[in-house]
């Protein structure tokens, strides 16, 4: 009996794999196994010897079973390790990268400006590209035959309709829609068209964003404060701006807005033509005629307006050397903008 236990334990111990172990298990613990054979001998014993014998055989059975269990776990663990080692892959093979596209740089810049102004409580207003001469010119304080119309070479469709030359057309429509109610606080983005031959710095089609605020005692200082924040948002915290008096029909007083050069920090470089400043916006206080035509009383309210070219900002921001890249849509060009803030 002792032999059965010792031999069994030894047989378990020397097993190299789960199959061998199962065979040993069958030899000892199956219905016809050695342990059962020991049990079978009980019928030959006297009644008083039976309990002690039975207990002894059971003891052997339990010992073997727990030995089997331990060995099985150990072998499983080893087999698992072997399996794991087989799972080695070449970590350096190319990935299966999820496909992702890119927004157009003009959209990226436009959205950035829209988000900035929405954060300050501005609504985004749009209007038709095929526009009435009336909203594009008359309402913008540019009457028939005014020399200022020389400044914008217009694509006319007929005497009445044209392709809008500036998003001021959206402003004049928006002002009219407000019917004299304040506050007006909007930005007006959109495509505009001018009869310019396309070259590195001109495009017959481009995107403008104009802004318009009308309320009580809105001042040129408010315009400056607003545009200072915009300049910092677009070109970095250390940017400053300067106003230069200028002329636009829509505004009086009018200013051109320069931003200190983000490339050289105002020291002078090729981007800013050594001046330290980059012209980026036209702006001013809404002309009283414009307010009056749209049903506002310029004695009671005032407003500021500004306009910028999205292409110009994109060119400056990303260092693009030719405006035509933006409309060629070369995918190698567009892929530059896949990673955007």
């Amino acid at each position: 009996m002792e032999n059965v236990l010792n031999e069994g334990l030894l047989a378990i111990e020397v097993c190299q794999n789960l199959t061998d172990l199962q065979n040993v298990r069958n030899a000892y613990l199956s219905k016809k196994g050695l342990v059962q054979q020991l049990m079978g001998k009980m019928k030959d014993l006297s009644a008083e010897d039976k309990p002690a014998y039975g207990a002894q055989v059971n003891q052997i059975k339990q010992s073997l079973e727990s030995a089997f269990k331990l060995k099985e776990e150990a072998l499983q663990e080893a087999a698992f390790d072997v399996q794991l080692q087989k799972g080695r892959i070449d970590l350096s093979l190319p990935s299966a990268m999820p496909l992702v596209g890119t927004l157009h740089p003009l959209t990226i810049v436009q959205s950035e400006i829209e988000q900035f102004f929405m954060g300050m409580g501005y609504l985004v207003k749009e209007g038709p590209e095929v526009e009435l001469d009336y909203y594009n010119f008359e309402r913008a304080n540019i009457p028939q035959d005014h020399p200022a119309r020389d400044m914008q070479d217009t694509f006319y469709i007929n005497a009445e309709w044209l392709l809008r030359t500036h998003t001021t057309a959206i402003q004049t429509r928006t002002l009219e829609a407000y019917k004299g109610e304040i506050p007006v606080k909007v930005i007006c983005p959109g495509k505009v068209f001018r009869k310019d031959d396309d070259d590195a710095t001109h495009s017959h089609q481009f995107v403008q964003i104009e802004g318009l605020v009308v309320g009580i005692k809105i001042s040129l200082a408010d315009l400056k404060g607003t545009l200072e924040l915009l300049a910092k948002h677009l070109f970095g915290e250390s940017r400053v701006i300067r106003f230069r008096p200028s002329y636009f029909q829509f505004t009086e007083p009018s200013v051109e807005v320069d931003v200190s050069c983000h490339i050289c920090n105002g020291k002078g470089c090729s981007t800013c033509k050594q001046s330290g400043w980059i012209e980026i916006l036209g702006a001013g206080m809404v002309h009283p005629n414009v307010l009056r035509m749209a049903g506002f009383d310029p004695e009671k309210v005032s407003g500021f307006a500004f306009g910028l070219g999205v292409e110009r900002v994109a060119l400056l921001k990303y260092g693009i050397d030719d405006i035509r890249h933006l409309y060629t849509n070369d995918l190698r060009f567009l892929s530059n903008f896949r990673r955007f803030e």
């Binding site: 190319p94 299966a96 990268m97 496909l99 992702v100 596209g101 927004l103 157009h104 003009l106 959209t107 929405m118 954060g119 409580g121 985004v124 590209e129 095929v130 028939q144 035959d145 020399p147 200022a148 020389d150 400044m151 694509f155 469709i157 309709w161 392709l163 506050p183 606080k185 495509k191 068209f193 009869k195 031959d197 017959h204 089609q205 605020v213 809105i218 001042s219 040129l220 200082a221 408010d222 400056k224 404060g225 607003t226 300067r242 106003f243 230069r244 008096p245 200028s246 002329y247 009086e252 007083p253 200013v255 009283p288 005032s302 409309y327 849509n329 070369d330 995918l331 190698r332 567009l334």
Partner: protein, 795 residues
């Protein structure tokens, strides 16, 4: 306009101010100075006299000269054809640095050369101001110039030109005198103009007849000068004109130009003897042609303003005079014409005949009504002094110069409210005084009398701008508008556009923005092109005459461009509105080219095909809240833009929403593209459509049972029909029907196809029993047999 510092300095003292400093001041006051350019450049330049000149023995065009430069006599080999003994010339001594070259001692074909005799061109003078002789040869100087002195200063070439960008409102800056006033006001300095008031008033009785028969010429003055002598202009006048890029012709012509530049008033001088009759009549409505000064023959339009004499056209008003009556060397008497013409008419005529002259630009911008008088006074004075003018007749006029000056008032509070400043009354009064607005103040109301030159000032805000630009905006402290808080947001259209963009980028598509202007051909193809596309009256080219009425036609250009540049696998999209006069419609379009190579070595390469396009549409629509049960893809067999059998009309709620599919092979060939699948969607419709909102649906916890079946059906039967038949078996027990294989080939009958489906049976309130499942499965097969004439395929 170009302003010479020296010329300007004749009216306002600029001796202690550098051109750059003045330029900065002007720029920050609203006169943007775009250039500060010396008219000539060069060091080590002196006046010399040619004391010896002979042909170079080894050359057919060089000369050997000796030039006295005061302290020495230099040997110089000169290549100019016009060099001659006795000339006073400009000499660049050894070491001189000129715009293009540095002068070194040299030996030219055996002859020593220690310097160079210069042309003005070599000193960087604007070629526009130079005659052909001056451009081709050395500059021959006035014999009275003293040898040895520094040349640029002696010749008045040590001048700097300010190139001022004129804003359209400041028509007064067409007159140098007005620039002088502005500079005087900015520097707070006295301005002295050489204007002898009423000089032109004197004169004997005149037989000249002046008349205007058109409202487009409200004012015209004429003056006959019986005797003048034509000769060269005085040196200072030539210098001034050349400095600003104007060629000197002769004293009389130069005077008319000089006075125009000074006063802004274009003058026209006729040869008195060549006028058909001693009359000048301004007319319109003529229908003939005129030969202008430059010799071109211009047909007249009835709208044009024409100067006539004895019914003959002698000038195209405000633009150019006629050839027949022009001043030449033989001229002995003059008739001066000074007028005001309708700016818009001059603009139209000038554009039509494509002639932009110094005169026309001034008329177009608008003239100080009093400039006629200033110009006549000044011209008469200069003619007397420099053209020996005699037999001066009185001025004859038609119309009257208004002497009334506009008065505009502004309140100090208004100034500070609009600018956001704290300007004092004294400062404001000082600024207006310097501007010669003769301000009068009462209770902080300031009344200004506006000089006739300042056509740009008519309302209080104009005066506020004057204060603003004079105090300068550098110290203006920025603030933010003080007003009720408002909520900033996109509207529904803008929000939809942004979501479409973000999703598209997530699908790997790249956004493009293409031109809205297209060739007419592009308006006649594409997806549901809008009716009546708008076309431009005068386009840049036929390629860009029409405003596009669909997106895909123009996007194909982008596809062709990229494919031509060996970029084969890509997806692009564009969101844009389409415009005609009647319609403004938002659209979305995409083009897929080639395939998606996600991981080639793992064979993860997916074709961009009809199903990829369909997937994009379905994904976008479900993301935007359109349940796909509302969407149908219907056959598009009539298409010539898309492949007729591999494209579909997309409908939502049975309404046309767009088209997707493969490009028509013929079109692909014509457009030079290949492997293109595309789609265009009228997303405008989504804005008025009921869209699903996000709602919580409880998760079905009951077990689901999956059964696979394979059906053999007629090949014409669309899978959507099979799905429909199966789903109809039980609305609440069949959770989904998924197609996992489509087979056509030798294992099924010709004309048939095998479709393998995975059907998920599930109830939401109990576990389906074995009997229920069997019943559902049997019903499914029965329905397919009955409804689709399908056979169960035994694998």
């Amino acid at each position: 306009m170009k302003v010479s510092m020296q010329w300007l300095g004749r009216y306002v003292d600029l001796t202690d101010i550098k051109a750059e400093t003045l330029a900065d001041k002007l720029t920050l006051a609203g006169l943007e100075v775009e250039g500060v350019d010396p008219i000539a450049q060069g060091s080590n330049l002196v006046i010399g006299e040619v004391v010896f000149c002979e042909a170079h023995p080894q050359s057919d065009h060089l000369s050997i000269t000796k030039v006295n430069v005061g302290d020495e006599i230099l040997d110089i080999v000169c290549g100019a054809p016009n060099v001659a003994l006795g000339q006073k010339v400009i000499v660049a001594k050894v070491g001189a640095v000129l715009p293009e070259i540095t002068i070194k001692a040299s030996n030219i074909k055996g002859q020593a050369s220690n310097g160079m005799i210069c042309s003005l061109l070599e000193l960087g003078v604007n070629p526009k101001a130079l005659s052909d002789d001056q451009k081709n040869g050395i500059e021959v100087l006035d014999a009275s110039l003293e040898v040895g002195q520094e040349a640029l200063h002696a010749l008045g070439l040590d001048d700097v030109i300010l190139d001022i960008k004129q804003t359209p409102n400041r028509s007064d800056f067409n007159a140098l005198w007005s620039v002088a006033y502005e500079v005087g006001a900015l520097l707070d300095r006295e301005v002295k103009l050489p204007w002898q008031k009423d000089f032109a008033q004197k004169g004997s009785k005149s037989d000249l007849v002046i008349a205007s028969e058109t409202a487009k010429c409200p004012l015209i003055y004429g003056k006959k000068i019986g005797q003048v002598s034509i000769k060269a202009s005085p040196i200072w006048m030539r210098r001034d004109l050349e400095a600003v890029g104007m060629k000197s012709i002769n004293n009389v012509v130069d005077i008319s130009n000089y006075v125009m530049l000074e006063t802004g008033q274009p003058l026209h001088f006729y040869d008195g003897a060549k006028l058909p009759k001693m009359e000048i009549i301004v007319k319109d409505g003529l229908n003939e042609s005129i030969t202008t000064l430059d010799g071109s023959d211009l047909p007249l339009d009835v709208q044009d303003i024409v100067i006539t004499s004895n019914n003959q056209a002698i000038g195209l008003a405000g633009i150019m005079g006629g050839e027949d009556s022009k001043i030449d060397e033989q001229t002995t008497s003059l008739v001066i014409e000074a007028a005001q013409f309708s700016p818009s008419q001059i603009r139209h005529t000038s554009r039509r005949v494509n002639l932009l002259t110094e005169a026309s630009q001034r008329f177009v911008k608008g003239l100080d009504p009093q400039s006629i008088i200033k110009a006549l006074d000044r011209a008469t004075e200069l003619l007397v002094e420099h053209a020996d003018a005699q037999l001066i007749e009185e001025t004859v006029c038609c119309g009257e110069v208004s002497k009334d000056l506009l008065k505009v008032s502004v309140h100090l509070q208004h100034i500070n409210d609009l600018l956001g400043t704290k300007v004092s009354l004294e400062t404001a009064m000082d600024i207006f005084t310097r501007l010669q607005f003769t301000p009068v103040e009462k209770d902080s109301w300031i009344e200004c009398t506006i000089p006739s030159t300042r056509l740009d000032i008519s309302v209080a805000e104009d005066l506020i701008e004057e204060v603003g630009r004079f105090i300068g905006y550098a110290d203006l402290k920025g603030s933010l508008p003080l007003m009720p808080t408002t909520q900033g947001s996109y509207d529904a259209r803008q929000a939809m556009r942004q979501r479409l963009r973000q999703h598209s980028v997530g699908f790997g598509l790249n956004e493009v923005i293409t031109y809205s202007l297209v060739h007419e051909d592009k308006t006649k193809m594409g997806v549901y092109p809008l009716e009546n596309p708008a076309s431009l009256l005068s386009p840049l080219s036929e390629e860009r005459r029409f405003i596009r009425n669909n997106l895909l036609a123009s996007m194909l250009e982008t596809v062709a461009y990229n494919q031509a540049h060996k970029i084969k696998d890509f997806g692009i999209f564009e969101v844009s509105n389409l415009n005609t006069i009647a319609v403004n419609q938002e659209r979305y379009a995409f083009v897929l080219s080639g395939q998606v190579e996600r991981s080639i070595w793992q064979k993860q390469v997916y074709p961009y095909d009809y199903y990829a396009a369909k997937g994009i549409v379905e994904r976008l629509l479900s993301e935007l809240g359109v349940n796909l049960s509302r969407v149908r893809f219907e056959n598009n067999e009539a298409s010539t833009f898309f492949h007729p059998l591999r494209s579909a009309i997309v409908k939502i709620d049975n309404k046309i929403f767009g088209v997707i599919g493969e490009i028509h092979p013929k079109l692909a060939k014509a457009q030079d593209v290949s492997n293109v699948v595309m789609g265009e969607l009228i997303i405008e419709q989504l804005l008025s459509m009921k869209l699903a909102k996000v709602r919580f649906t409880p998760v079905n916890k009951m077990p689901a049972v999956v059964r696979d079946i394979a059906l053999v059906v007629d090949e014409a039967i669309q899978v959507s029909e099979i799905e429909k038949v199966i789903k109809a078996v039980s609305k609440d027990r069949i959770q989904s029907v998924q197609i996992f294989d489509v087979y056509q080939g030798d294992k099924v009958e010709t004309g048939k196809k095998s479709i393998a489906l995975k059907i998920v049976y599930q109830a939401n309130d109990h576990t389906l029993s074995e009997e229920e499942i069997t019943q559902l499965y049997t019903n499914t097969i029965e329905a397919c047999k009955k409804g689709l004439n399908a056979q169960l395929r035994i694998a």
